[in-house]
């Protein structure tokens, strides 16, 4: 549950921040959600949130595109077709999101489990 919440927070926050700031602002979004909403799989949440945000946004742009620039760019990167370019976009964003979320979560002092409490 927390995982899903964390994922949504990163997704929404990164979306809003990216409207105003350069691409690496996704670090802020993922780091913040990693810290505040720490889950059992922080890296995965960060990775999936940014990867899906970037893939979705790219897909929305491409679905309304008047030209095949994404295919041309894929060919500049010697990729077969633009599907792989979507994957590449998602992975690049995802990696940064994943590490940022993990960092945020690791900075937060570990909550002691009940049996460790004195």
């Amino acid at each position: 549950m927390k995982f899903l919440l964390q994922l949504i927070v990163i997704f929404v926050l990164a979306y809003v921040l990216e409207l105003f700031f350069p691409w690496y602002v996704i670090v802020v979004a993922a780091f913040f959600a990693g810290y505040v909403v720490r889950s059992g799989a922080n890296f995965l949440a960060g990775f999936l949130a940014i990867a899906s945000l970037w893939a979705l946004k790219a897909w929305m742009i491409d679905s309304q595109a008047s030209t095949d620039l994404s295919t041309r760019v894929a060919r500049i990167f010697t990729l077969q077709d633009n599907t792989l370019l979507f994957v590449m976009t998602a992975v690049v964003g995802g990696l940064v999101g994943g590490f940022a979320a993990l960092s945020g979560a690791l900075l937060k002092p570990a909550k002691k489990k009940w049996y460790e409490k004195r």
Partner: protein, 814 residues
């Protein structure tokens, strides 16, 4: 432990961001900043224009005095309506930058020798070359004279202001795709950059000479062979202006220049100048030969075709001005176009406006050189070339009385301490922009005549027509009054009087108005009849297109706009018609293989027309390519000694008239070949080439010319995915001069009717420089098919149809 993990993870995050936010060179391959580039909120995805995209309806622009209305038609051609000249050029700068900023900037960088700054060491060699040619030196001189004239200063400054207003409005997400890919940002635009672009045009058109090659030929073969191989005139076709006995003036200056052959052969690895196959066509037909009874004017300049395109179509409407046509992104005004009363166009004048002067140094320090009775000082200029990712490179270029020393021991020359200084017309101060300012407002023949007076370089054949019924041609440029043979060979730079002593007065330039034959035309051929009192030379003259154009225009009356379009896209191969029958005869006695037999039959049945589907054209061109220049002129192309090959026309004439010429012998074979032998040999080789092509193309049984030619319109960065492959007819030496890489870069037909000027025009590209725009290459197909769109010449902004979008530019407070 947890804190340690945090540090590792956080460091990883930062390292990743740093890596993905910067450009890297891995091995030799550049890797763009992947994070920045792929981010769909700001990266390249933002360069993809959505379907039905319309620019914002209103923009606030600093520096405007009044409101400006911009109307875009369906091809994204801007029609600019301004209430004063200053706003007109500011808006032109703004809108051109909006569509073409990256191209404008990279072209000025190329001209200034600053490509290595962006591309890294790969650009260095050419950067050094541009600096050693003195491109910026010439641009600086041009800028100084433009700044002294109030009109041109206003044009160039306002245009720059408009470009800068656009640059200042840019965020990373708005940058052109190429900026993102190469990871850099535009710098502020300056008037010098516009001057550099004009010099870049001079470089494309007027930077070809063969003085060193001719000098070597003279030393090796003697004057008779030189005149045989490289005649000043080929005596073919009609000159552009043919009115013997009408030149009622005596030429200034006519004493001769002493021949001063250097004692050594010149061994310079000369960089190729302007492509010899670049050329252009223009003509204007008098009302007596047209269906409407009023003149028509046509122009198609042939240049290296690229994406984004060299030209940008625009309409400029302001007080006292309403004109439309092709502009050069980066310079204000319209270069080839029409007003509501006149039209004009240009082809290259070819004339030799380059000389090389042999320098006699006092000693090896290169500090002083002989000039008449004294030792003159050289002026060393240290060029510092920034190289991306590496230390800057310094290069010292020595300037002399004549100009810069382009080639020396540090740059492409083996000769020790025998250097040549480069004298080029484009180094001189000039005021071309004023010509275009005036042409853009011309209403009559007199206005045209007056406008051309300040035009210097690159020298052009300016065709003209007006609604008053005039047609005219003027060969305009700043031409040195050359003495016999001056400029054909290198000159002795130790004698001041060997330089250009005087220039032909503008009123003595070659002109033609309403000739009896009913039309004027030019296609880079020899300019004038032999009674013109000045010596004329050039590195080459055109021999085929001009004859085809004149024979078509000469025969027909009641010419229509459709006829003009048909002539611009005419694929008749006069060269083949004149050479192929004789070649085929040489095969009669030869034993042919089955593949050769097929080729022979196809060639025999061919109608000498280079259409895209013609197999005969493919076989003919392959035959010619295996013959010329490598097989015929093998002795001129080997070794370090710089030599030129004779022109296509002279080669074919010598093959016809002197079949036993010693040059036709292939040097590396023991036996002695004649023309018949090399024609047969070239035929066999070309058939093999074609057979190989068929194998490489999925075992194709046919070889259509368009596919075989494999034309390409390359992106300026030579990125294949951003370039366009084009299957079309034509070739060099044909009116439709579309070769593999060069061709008609703009085709325009203007009908100057009493009821108003009508025009059609297009170029192989599109108005937008953005590969993510539907207007990036939307004119290529109609260009190939000869389907000319009408140029909407609006009288008022309100006249625009519904499908047009418009932007209102308003002055911003700031």
């Amino acid at each position: 432990m947890r804190l340690f993990k945090f540090f590792v993870s956080f460091a990883m995050t930062l390292a990743l961001v740093y890596f993905l936010d910067n450009r890297w060179v891995i091995g030799k391959a550049p890797l763009p900043p992947l994070g920045k580039l792929l981010d769909p909120f700001h990266g390249f995805w933002q360069n993809i224009e959505p379907r039905g995209y319309k620019p914002p309806a209103e923009l606030q622009i600093p520096g405007l005095q009044d409101k400006v209305t911009l109307v875009f038609d369906s091809l994204a051609v801007p029609h600019i309506f301004a209430s004063n000249d200053a706003d007109l050029y500011l808006a032109q700068g703004y809108i051109t930058a909006m569509h073409r900023l990256w191209q404008m900037e990279i072209q000025t960088h190329a001209a200034a020798g600053r490509v290595a700054e962006i591309a890294g060491p790969a650009g260095l060699e050419n950067d050094r070359y541009m600096r050693r040619l003195g491109m910026a030196y010439g641009a600086q001189h041009a800028l100084e004279s433009m700044m002294k004239n109030d009109t041109t200063r206003m044009m160039i400054e306002k245009y720059a202001e408009g470009i800068n207003a656009y640059i200042q409005s840019l965020h990373y997400g708005d940058l052109a795709f190429e900026y993102k890919l190469l990871d850099y940002r535009p710098e502020p635009w300056t008037p010098l950059k516009s001057a550099l672009l004009l010099k870049n045009m001079a470089y494309s058109l007027c930077m070809r000479d063969k003085d060193m090659e001719m000098t070597n030929a003279l030393r090796l073969f003697g004057p008779e062979v030189v005149d045989l191989l490289y005649p000043d005139q080929e005596g073919v076709g009609e000159p552009i202006v043919d009115q013997p006995g009408s030149w009622k003036f005596a030429g200034v200056l006519s004493d001769s220049v002493p021949m001063a052959l250097p004692p050594e052969l010149i061994q310079v690895k000369k960089k190729p100048g302007a492509d010899p196959t670049t050329g252009s066509n223009n003509w204007a037909v008098h009302g007596s030969k047209t269906a409407t009874g009023t003149p028509m004017l046509c122009n198609d300049p042939h240049l290296n075709l690229s994406l984004p395109s060299l030209w940008y179509v625009v309409q400029l409407h302001g007080p006292g001005a309403n004109c439309m046509g092709a502009s050069l992104p980066g310079t204000p005004g319209i270069i080839i176009g029409f007003t509501d009363s006149v039209a004009w166009g240009v082809t290259n004048a070819q004339r030799d406006l380059i000389d090389w002067f042999r320098i006699t140094y006092k000693d090896s320090s290169r500090r002083q050189y002989r000039l008449d009775e004294r030792w003159a000082d050289t002026r060393p200029v240290v060029e510092t070339i920034a190289v991306r990712g590496e230390d800057a490179v310094s290069d010292t270029v020595y300037y002399t009385h004549w100009g810069p020393i382009t080639y020396d021991h540090t740059f492409r020359s083996n000769n020790n301490h025998v250097d040549y200084a480069f004298r080029w017309i484009a180094h001189d101060p000039s005021l071309e922009l004023l010509t275009f300012y005036k042409l853009n407002r011309a209403r009559s023949f007199d206005d045209y005549k007056e406008a051309l007076n300040t035009y210097q370089a690159p020298a052009q054949n300016f065709v003209f027509a007006s609604v008053q019924g005039d047609v005219a041609m003027r060969i305009q440029g700043k031409f040195p009054a050359r003495r016999k043979n001056e400029g054909r060979f290198v000159l002795d730079g130790s004698i001041r009087t060997n330089g250009w002593q005087a220039f032909i007065p503008v009123e003595q330039n070659i002109t033609y108005r309403n000739p009896p034959r009913g039309f004027v035309s030019s296609a880079n051929q020899y300019p004038v009849d032999n009674t013109y009192p000045y010596y004329i030379t050039a590195s080459s003259w055109e021999a085929y297109r001009n004859r085809r154009i004149n024979s078509v225009l000469g025969q027909d009356t009641s010419l229509t706009v459709a006829d003009m379009m048909a002539l611009q896209t005419d694929n008749y191969n006069l060269k083949a018609a004149e050479s192929l029958p004789a070649w085929l005869k040489q095969l009669d006695s030869a034993r042919l293989s089955p593949a050769e037999m097929t080729a022979f039959d196809i060639l025999k049945a061919w109608n000498y027309t280079n259409t895209a589907d013609a197999e005969g054209a493919a076989y003919y061109e392959a035959w010619w390519d295996s013959l010329y220049p490598g097989l015929i002129w093998d002795e001129l192309l080997k070794g370090d000694t710089l030599l030129d090959v004779p022109s296509t026309y002279t080669t074919l004439r010598l093959m016809r008239e002197k079949p036993d010429l010693a040059f036709f012998d292939i040097q590396r074979t023991p036996q002695k070949e004649t023309v018949a032998d090399i024609v047969r040999l070239a035929f066999s080789k070309s058939v093999q080439t074609v057979e190989q092509w068929k194998k490489d193309h999925a075992g194709s049984t046919k070889v259509p010319w368009g596919a075989y030619k494999d034309s390409r319109i390359n992106h300026l960065l030579r990125l294949e995915p951003l370039s366009a492959a084009v299957n079309a007819g034509g070739n060099h030496d044909i009116v439709n001069a579309f070769s593999k890489t060069h061709g008609p870069s703009w085709r325009m037909v203007v009908s100057l009717e009493k009821t108003g000027v009508k025009a059609w025009g297009l170029y192989p590209g599109g108005q937008s420089g953005n590969p993510g725009s539907p207007h990036y290459a939307d004119m290529i197909d109609p260009w190939v098919n000869g389907k000319y769109p009408a140029l909407h010449f609006l009288q008022t902004a309100g006249q625009a149809a519904d499908r047009f979008s418009s932007i209102v530019l308003t002055p911003s407070e700031e």
